[in-house]
């Protein structure tokens, strides 16, 4: 028996054969003529080998097309149309390739890291020269994303294919099956979020990937749901879009809240007479202006400083901070039910 052929070499021979075939190749032709398939010791072993190789190629972005031919009845043939799966014309400089090789290190999850590595391998073919690796070396942030939900969801968004998963709702603690038409994946402070149409509710919903339990399973065929209209999508994403940058005025005790002071801006002038009582508060405090986008995020941050930081304006941030403080001031009163 001839020495067995390396799997990578067999896959390469299969690609070349199916790219160059004049019309299509049948399974039998593959088995008898493509190098490597003669190693199969039985019909069953050949079937397994060929199916696995087709799956591998599909995963790599080289789908093997099934071609039926009226003249041959049910007899199925295969070919690969490389032009249809070619990268759009692009050239990458060594510096850009260097950036991409750092991007590979971003993901802590092995699945995502493997996906990124493959993308890099493909793009190296269109590099003008070897990557300049020192440009961003050591600068890659490490991002935790749980690939077990992320990978299948990315695929489902791409394929416009509904998914089903078990989800724990934060509002009620209820654990339930959800069937969702996935629209977008968002990276936000607090983790990854899936936005899509919840089929049972008939409305768009957001799902934190961290609250998905177990596997994400595809449901139905690819392309089987209508994509959202621009208005539907904008509506669903509104809650996740950062607001405009605004400025808050804070009254800070001397030598306190250095982290807030470090990002102080001085191009805003709060008028102490515009807010009753502000002059009194500022008598022994410094006036500090900071920029913010989210009212609740800033309110949550400043309450951590306790009496060292008082929000003067705007009223929205002040009320949010007061609300947190009032609720917390009752923490040592035993409660039967959660505080409203």
């Amino acid at each position: 028996m001839a020495p067995s052929i390396d799997p990578a070499e067999r896959l390469l021979d299969l690609v070349i054969a199916l790219v160059n075939t004049s019309g299509r190749m049948t399974k039998q032709q593959v088995r008898s003529s493509v190098a490597g398939y003669q190693d199969a010791v039985s019909d069953e072993a050949f079937e397994r080998m060929f199916e696995r190789d087709k799956d591998t190629l599909r995963e790599l972005g080289v789908p093997v097309l099934t071609v039926t031919d009226a003249r041959h009845g049910d007899d199925v043939g295969y070919r690969i149309d490389v032009d249809a799966y070619a990268l759009p014309p692009v050239q990458l400089t060594p510096a850009e390739l260097g950036v991409l090789s750092v991007a590979v290190q971003v993901w802590q999850d092995a699945t995502l890291r493997a996906d990124t590595t493959r993308a890099l391998t493909k793009l190296r073919a269109v590099g003008e020269g070897p990557s300049a690796t020192d440009l961003l070396a050591g600068l890659a942030p490490r991002v935790r994303a749980d690939g077990s939900a992320f990978g299948p969801l990315v695929e489902a968004v791409q394929e416009r294919r509904a998914v089903r998963f078990t989800y724990r709702a934060a509002s009620s603690g209820e654990v339930r099956e959800r069937t969702v038409e996935p629209w977008r994946l968002l990276a936000r402070r607090g983790g990854w979020v899936l936005v899509g149409l919840d089929r049972d509710r008939g409305a768009s919903r957001s799902f934190r990937l961290g609250r998905i339990q177990g596997r994400v399973r595809p449901v139905g065929a690819p392309g089987a749901f209508e994509p959202p209209t621009d208005a539907q999508l904008a509506d669903a994403l509104a809650a996740w879009t950062q607001g405009p940058e605004r400025t808050a005025a804070l009254a800070v005790l001397p030598d306190r809240a250095a982290a807030l002071r470090a990002r102080a801006v001085d191009d805003e002038a709060f008028d102490p007479d515009a807010v009753p009582g502000a002059r009194e508060v500022l008598a022994d405090r410094d006036l500090v202006h900071v920029r913010y986008r989210s009212t609740w995020e800033l309110a949550e941050e400043v309450v951590g400083y306790g009496s060292a930081v008082v929000v003067l304006a705007p009223a929205g941030v002040r009320d949010a901070a007061l609300d947190l403080l009032r609720t917390a001031s009752r923490l040592d009163i035993p409660a039967e039910v959660p505080r409203a």
Binding site: A8, E9, I16, N20, T56, L60, V82, D83, P88, T93, L97, V99, L100, A103, V106, W107, D115, T116, R118, A119, K122, L123, R124, A125, G127, L136, A137, G138, L139, A140, P141, V143, V154, E159, G173, L185, L186, A187, R188, G190, G191, R208, G210, R211, A257, A258, A259, V275, V281, V303, G304, A308, L312, R318, L324, L325, T327, A328, A335, P338
Partner: protein
Amino acid sequence: MPERAPDRLLRMLGMVAYLDAHDDVAVDDLAAQFGVTPDQAIADIDTLWVTGTPGYLPYDLIDFDATAYERGVVTLVEARGLTRPLRLGGREAVALVAALRSMASSLGPALDDERAAALRSALEKVTAAAGDAAAAVDVQLPAAATPQVAAAIGDALARGRRLRIRYVDAGDRTSEREVDPVRLVTDDERRYLLAWCRASQGERLFRVDRVVAAEVLDAPAEEHPLPERAEVFTPDGGEPVTLHLASQGRWIVETTPAEAVRDLPDGSFEVDLRVVQPAWLRHLLLQAAHTVIDVRPAQVAHDAAAFARRALAAYAPLLPPGEGG
């Protein structure tokens, strides 16, 4: 671990496309282009040379210039139809675009003009190459630090220099320390600088938004042995505290290293924490107060409530009489 066949296949396909566009490439350059050793590049070329269309007679095979190859130069003579670089798969494109966007939003102000330009153009080109796939993800992460601090951290990491930082801890205490930076770490909530702290002689995760000043020193950063899970905050020791929370407090276990979580039949749950910094727990309780059902030990709840009452008192001049809290 031996390389997986699909990864080697991808590289060999890439090599043919690359060599179709570039004549006379030295083996060492080809190896560098694909990020492998020269020996691996030679093994890949040798494999490519014997592959081709069925029949596998000389004219069926991928072919290189043998004379040039003897001189260590690779010149493709026959590509057998493999000249087109492969499109990015959906997951590949999304993983790469999302990684680049995370870098852009995390490093943004930390980069000098040259690096920022390379990151921007790489992201633009990859986004274009990814096509529709790029729209599947949307990355919006908050800026981590002031531009000066971010730039100093970026510079120190890129050049392997020691940093002097002014750091504010969870208890609002400011200290100055010299650190040997290792890398930036992002979790779901925040950015951290993983660094060796010379004062405490150990690795520490510094919240980047609490670094209020940073100066790059001339001394090189020394290498220090780091434990495997240095990137994950794992408090050793600390006081055991148990929180009983309503379901809406679920985010706490998603963002906080918990020792144990017990789901209760009514949808609420208990979480056991180890608390090294009381100020950190107090801040957590202030943010989550509306979901807190019970805290053990009770003194912890009492401290947080007293802290909140003192803060409310500071607001008194701003509030109408009788609304002091």
